[in-house]
Symmetry: C2
Subunit: 152 residues, 2 copies
């Protein structure tokens, strides 16, 4: 069973996001070993670059052998293409890590190190919705790969 | 104050989607007169074309003078571009209607009649998440237009 890690900056605050996230985490148990790593959002500093630098260092210590950064300017995949990617990569890697930045995005260092950038479209999503969409897309990918009826 | 209508097929079932939707509906009260019209999802028929035909007729009776269809193959806008569209259109139209199809999408008739198609990216979103993302993007658009700090 493949390990999927979601490294994200900041926690979910509202109960409805927490519950939505839990639902997909529960559904994913059937398909993968899921690990959601919530890094502390920096709020001690005024300067955005300083915030991104500290958050970035934390992100970089939590990577695995294959990593993806959610980035508005990244490559767009259809859900079917993402499903195929997960199938193919699971042949070569034991852990796939997906990184979602904080309110201000991620540092240039993180952007440079994480070459695989996935975009969910041109719109700016808040990090809480991005996290739910990511979980749903991973679940959808497994449902596509298992031939389930979920994906029409 | 502009009227925003969201015409969608099927209701939100899970409490977390209902609560998330309510939160954005509440926030939007400040900026527009929002009307969410939930049409009945057809489940009497086996045949998908029949379902789409009946749902489609319902959609077409709920349009206004300016309509957008959420369509995976539609035009992608950034959040800033969507904000600008809303500003510009509010000069000419009193009501903007956004249509979200049901589990099987929408009929060809609806696709043909609604020329303005917006895509939130190449991924397939379930209709409940699409609805929350739409509400958030409309809220984000108003925040961008009002110069608020929400959009970074």
């Amino acid at each position: 069973m493949i390990n999927i890690r979601i490294v994200c900056v900041g926690n979910l605050k509202e109960k409805y996001w927490i519950d939505a996230s839990r639902e997909y985490e529960k559904r994913l148990q059937k398909f993968c070993k899921l690990n959601v790593i919530e890094l502390t959002e920096q709020n001690k500093y005024q300067e955005i670059n300083k915030i991104l630098e500290i958050e970035g260092k934390e992100i970089l210590t939590n990577l695995s052998d294959k990593n993806f950064l959610l980035d508005i300017n990244g490559e767009q995949f259809s859900s079917e293409q993402l499903a195929k990617q997960i199938t193919n990569l699971s042949q070569c890697y034991s852990t796939l890590t997906f990184v979602i930045g904080g309110s201000y995005g991620v540092s240039e260092e993180v952007k440079n190190k994480l070459k695989n950038k996935i975009s969910f479209g041109k719109i700016t999503l808040p990090h809480n919705i991005a996290r739910i969409v990511l979980l749903e897309q991973i679940y959808r990918a497994f449902m596509i790969n298992s031939g389930g009826k979920y994906h029409k």
